[in-house]
Symmetry: C2
Subunit: 374 residues, 2 copies
């Protein structure tokens, strides 16, 4: 095995693969990044058994020159650290004997031990089955906006991840923990006829989000209980969660008694203040009292103290009296998921779900159950 | 107690005091920041028993208005968090009842529990005794350049901190762990007649360095086994280490067989490469072989691999053959402590101390003992 490649690009690609590695995994070979060199390309592969990544570089791209095919299983952490300390623009990687690799620049040479790659698993990255194409930036944003409602440790396994589903021309991304629902709608420029539904584990969503930093479109494939994302030269694949995701459309209220219109930035700051910092809890019960032209926001944490503020910077449609309690964390995460200037808080009464939406971005809805007053 | 103050300034001052707090300390009152309001100023005080800080604000500075004197012991972490979430330029702090304080802005109010301040210790900040004045930025730089040679856990207590000493017009800052010595000379514009010697604990040096971010001069006072730094409105005081600091001047060699002149940036990068990353050790034994017009740098870590590089980018005075082993961490920290473009590495032979210096900054010397070859 012998190839030359652009050092900075090689660092990026190894880094991409190494991010998903779980160093606490029992099998030592899975702590490596597998590099396979064929006549026309090199592939870098890594897996933590749930998520797997493959990155391909073709001859001529990024100064890649291949002199001899073969494969090697590198200890990515050390390789990365060493590559970063080198100065050369182009470096060479060659196998000098079994499980020993030379990493060389113009004047310096590292001779490094590598892992035994004989038993490295063959990972099939799914490119067939149902597929859709989505703008990469929009997909990334959608995952970030909906993952907030997912509890990674939800006892109901199917809720411990995000749900993808396509109906005709609409791609829905949905997350719920039973107390709140985040739902994003992406319109596709075509109608999808095949069934397309998948529940993606929480941790996989985080890994996928990190990879979706690039431009262009992402191709999403579902096959054999795997979902595979392809963006540019990189494949990232995850196993799926089993189970039937609940039909959350049914919990969406449509008729509201009160809609509060305000600036998102201002209401976020207000609720942040009501979210009294404390050692014991990560959220505070916040009481919102709408009374004519004022909203009074109150909160109290026994050990720390209490908060009260009068807020007048809003407009209203409907009933101007409400008295409702909610979880500060839920409402703050929902509000912050909107990148819009204005926001609407839709209320029915103290016991019905609150819906947060914005006229500026109708693709996103956040629903939160209120808390009962004490 | 009732006063108004500029919110951002108040955040800065509480933050300064809260940084030294040790939350693992047994006494709960020492986890607070003590605020004392007298007719003409407020003082913020904190201590971790080794290091203590006092920051004073006088009437009229930073929008300070005092309506009622008194004192309060705040839980700094929560206070800071809450102050940061407020919007107001000026806020008011008032005692509403025993151990309850109101923190209010224009429209919002926090009513917060505070700690019982009755037993808060009276801390005397030393302003008399032997003293010198030093430029604050130069002092900060000196501490950073010399602390590298100090081992916080040195069994010889006097070596577990930095030594300050003044002889006539020279202020020396010295650190040593027995394997290396860092020494900085600062020339004072006057001669100090009184004895001035102090050994400052490692952790105190770190805290002091953080406070020395401001401009102007720092006044250093030594009295009753305490050292007190005063910079602008802030006092920071530390207890001292007991014991006689060794006379390190004696280990400084003066006659060298070989001096290597090179660019600091280049030699740092070279030694960084030789410092092969590894799980087990934080430093590598590096072998430097000077042979005529080349320096060969070699290193080897059993589990990871080996490194070799030929380096030609230097000039030399004296003997052009040397073969010496050293600890990568020691030499890297020494080289990096110089802010100069060029560097000199002075050698006698494989068993005598290496001295690193620079013509561009003669105030600093770094001495390192070589390692014996295996």
């Amino acid at each position: 095995m012998y190839f030359k490649i652009n050092r900075n690009f090689f660092i990026e690609e190894i880094n991409k693969c190494s991010r998903i590695i779980d160093y606490k995994i029992l099998s030592p070979i899975l702590t490596g990044v597998f590099i396979e060199v064929t006549t026309d390309k090199i592939s870098l592969i890594s897996t933590n058994t749930v998520v797997s990544i493959k990155s391909e570089v073709f001859l001529g791209e990024h100064d890649l020159v291949i002199s001899e095919t073969g494969s090697v299983l590198i200890k990515a952490k050390y390789f990365l650290e060493i590559l970063r300390r080198m100065d050369d623009e182009i470096i060479s990687v060659s196998k000098v004997e079994d499980n020993v690799v030379s990493l060389a620049g113009d004047k310096s040479e590292f001779v490094l031990n590598v892992l035994d790659d004989v038993e490295y698993p063959i990972i099939a990255f799914r490119e067939k089955g149902s597929s859709i194409m989505v703008d990469t930036q929009e997909l990334k944003k959608s995952l970030n906006q909906t993952i907030i409602s997912v509890n990674e440790y939800n006892q109901k396994i199917v809720l411990s991840g995000l749900n993808f589903s396509v109906e005709n021309e609409t791609f829905y991304v949905t997350g719920t923990d039973g107390y709140r629902v985040s739902r994003k709608k992406i319109f596709l420029p075509y109608s999808v006829e095949e069934k397309f539904e998948a529940n993606i584990p929480y941790k996989s969503v985080l890994e996928i989000t990190k990879i979706l930093s690039e431009k262009n479109e992402t191709k999403i494939n579902i096959q054999d209980n795997f979902i595979c994302f392809k963006v540019n030269n990189t494949f990232i694949q995850s196993t799926l969660l089993e189970g039937q995701f609940p039909n959350v459309s049914m919990v969406f209220p449509t008729d509201f008694n009160t809609t509060i219109y305000t600036e998102n930035r201002k209401i976020v700051k207000l609720i942040s203040r009501a979210d009294i910092p404390s050692e014991e809890t990560t959220s505070t019960v916040v009481n919102l009292i709408l009374n004519g032209e004022s909203i009074f926001v109150k909160s109290n944490i026994q050990q720390i103290g209490s908060f009260e503020e009068e807020f007048k910077d809003f407009e209203i449609r409907g009933l101007d009296e409400q008295n409702i309690y909610f979880n500060s964390k839920f409402i703050l995460e929902s509000l912050k998921s909107f990148e819009t200037k204005t926001i609407e808080i839709n209320l029915i009464d103290a016991k019905k779900p609150i819906v947060i939406s914005s006229n500026e971005d109708q693709s996103l809805s956040q629903i939160i159950l209120p808390m009962f007053s004490n």
